[in-house]
Subunit: 346 residues, 2 copies
DNA sequence: CTGAAAGCGCTTACAG
DNA sequence: CTGAAAGCGCTTACAG
């Protein structure tokens, strides 16, 4: 076996033709003579020549890949089925376009550094805001991008559900069923959102909760409403349930901003001989598959995660191909799914 | 705002220096004078210059990304938590190396075509065999690669558990508890394995099952053992459970090659008022997180999925960096996890 | 401390 | 039908 990969020059020499002709053989065979073509293909076989996509892509000023900016490191991102499903959706479109999907973790904690070093035709991010550094970098680099669960801003395509309404709907259900002592488990803000000057999804959902609470003369600062912040892991859900039990505030319902956390709560409570929903009602957010597997089945807000990814990717490809996009800020439907974990205590 | 991305040439002109100097400013600032450096940085700001990683990478003959060859399209791959965890493991190492991870779906159904078009420093694949086309292509392209759950072959690093022993252990437990009428749900072979001349993980696990069965004077062809092939989806698990019920062969235990399928079975059976494990015992394979969430908790074979990914990635980076690797074929430990879904019927 | 030039592996407008 | 040459955006050995 040879020592280095065969290049177009090696093959050109071996065939006594120019690089141009080799290139044509592989990309526009109709432009060259049959004999030349046959010779080239035969020699290509002999020399194990496979055109190097890196060279081709560089010359064509494209990358044949789009990027997905992970909101956190891999472990924190891929352990959340909601995000995994968004990635599935993006992937479905990549499949159609024969593109690959580059997963981009923060480079030593910084999204912006990651963006600097990355080579993609376009980018999808979660939860970014027009005013963030990343957005400015992306613009300087002329990299098209769209954001999922980010705040709509000028000239930045976004895909969202109506988070405020969704969380309002969720809390409203909880209140309708008679719950007045409520523990809210919010999402710890991610890397993008650390900067408190930006409105985050967490904050928006809080506003939705508040609106529903107000209708019942309650508010987030009320003595009966308790707030917890957690990372989005099953274990975090178990820990927060332990805290809630220990705090002993007579909470009747735990409202989580994520199914993963809600399922963690259920798991902990069951392990510790509490009855769900008799001792504690629990609701979640996202409607991941496990929500309908866990016992009791989790009542939650369904959001179309795969579709979010698909629409984001479709939009991104429009941008990459230089086409106009119909709607800059797309809002997808959500729905309260009533299963077993929310009890009517009226 | 300008119309095109600023290049090194634009900046060189604006600063009245050579491209070399610009390049040094960004990569070896100690090699140039302070004044020149300051000027360059200031102009870079003004002109929104960010070095183009595509150019840099191409020049350096690297890609700063490794690839993961998806065994199927995105949806089928990412909906399996086992694979998602392998990807997490790979990602953990990418994080350390400041590399991105490129997910590569088959290009119109062909892994080989995908490989042809892709530009990565190295590749991790699942379930490939030395004799496959992909392997030959990868070699022609001088792309280092390692395979997870593939058949060990010369000069191809592999990461596996001992699948034969693991499935033997699993079946042995089932038999020890008195089960004699057993339905086995095998994995439908994936793209890589379609070619029946290659030994697949499915086949190896079957051999492990057989070995245990033989010890009890049973065999796969025995009248009491029923074989089903299914894709690795929850829905497929539900369907196969329906079939098993309908076939009415007095099966007492369903042995699945994947937790996803096993959980699908449980879900179906519960929905249809069967008791697990009283009416049917069920065991799985992988030990995904949901295995300990579903009721009854699933007894299964644990395999270290995240670690598989991590070791694969570490090995790949050794290859990329031209270092020697200690063990060509790594075998990781597995373990039978006894939970609630396998009943002793002795 | 700085620059001219060659090179990374291709594509393609242009000429013949 | 085929080729010489310029170009994609950088890096770097070499010279001064």
């Amino acid at each position: 076996m040879r020592q280095k990969r065969t290049t177009i020059i090696d093959l050109a020499k071996a065939c006594n033709v120019s690089k141009t002709t080799i290139s044509f053989a592989f990309n526009n065979p109709e432009r060259i003579g049959k004999d030349t073509y046959d010779l080239i293909m035969q020699k290509a076989q002999e020399l194990d020549y496979i055109p190097n996509p890196a060279g081709r892509n560089f010359s064509l000023k494209r990358k044949q890949t789009i990027g997905f900016l992970l909101p956190q490191h891999f472990e924190g991102t891929l352990s959340n089925p909601y995000i995994t499903q968004v990635i599935q959706g993006i992937g479905n479109i990549c499949n159609i376009k024969d593109y690959t999907l580059t997963l981009i973790p923060p480079f030593n904690g910084s999204m912006n550094e990651a963006v600097y070093k990355v080579s993609v035709d376009g980018l999808i991010a979660m939860g970014i805001n027009v005013k963030m550094d990343v957005v400015e970098s992306l613009r300087k680099m002329f990299i098209p991008f769209v954001t999922i669960d980010g705040r709509p801003g000028e000239n930045m395509p976004t895909i969202n559900i109506n988070d405020k309404k969704a969380s309002y709907d969720l809390m409203k259900e909880v209140l309708k069923r008679g719950h007045r002592k409520i523990s809210i488990v919010a999402l710890k803000e991610n890397l993008f959102e650390k900067d408190s000057k930006f409105e985050s999804t967490t904050q928006i959902r809080m506003a939705g909760f508040e609106e529903a609470l107000n209708e019942y003369n309650l508010s987030i600062n009320n003595d009966n409403i308790y707030i917890y912040d957690e990372e989005c892991y099953l274990e975090a859900g178990m820990n927060v349930a332990a805290k809630i039990v220990k705090d002993n505030k007579k909470t009747t319902c735990i409202v989580c901003m994520s199914d993963v956390i809600a399922i963690g709560c259920i798991t902990y409570l069951k392990q510790n001989s509490f009855k769900v929903p008799d001792d504690f009602s629990i609701v979640g957010f996202d409607n991941i598959q496990t929500a309908s597997i866990v016992t009791p089945h989790l009542s939650t807000i369904m959001q179309p995660s795969v579709e979010k990814g698909e629409i984001a990717a479709k939009t991104l490809f429009e941008l990459i191909e230089g086409n106009a996009i119909e709607t800059l800020h797309k809002i997808l439907p959500h729905e309260f799914i009533d299963r077993e974990s929310l009890k009517d205590i009226n």
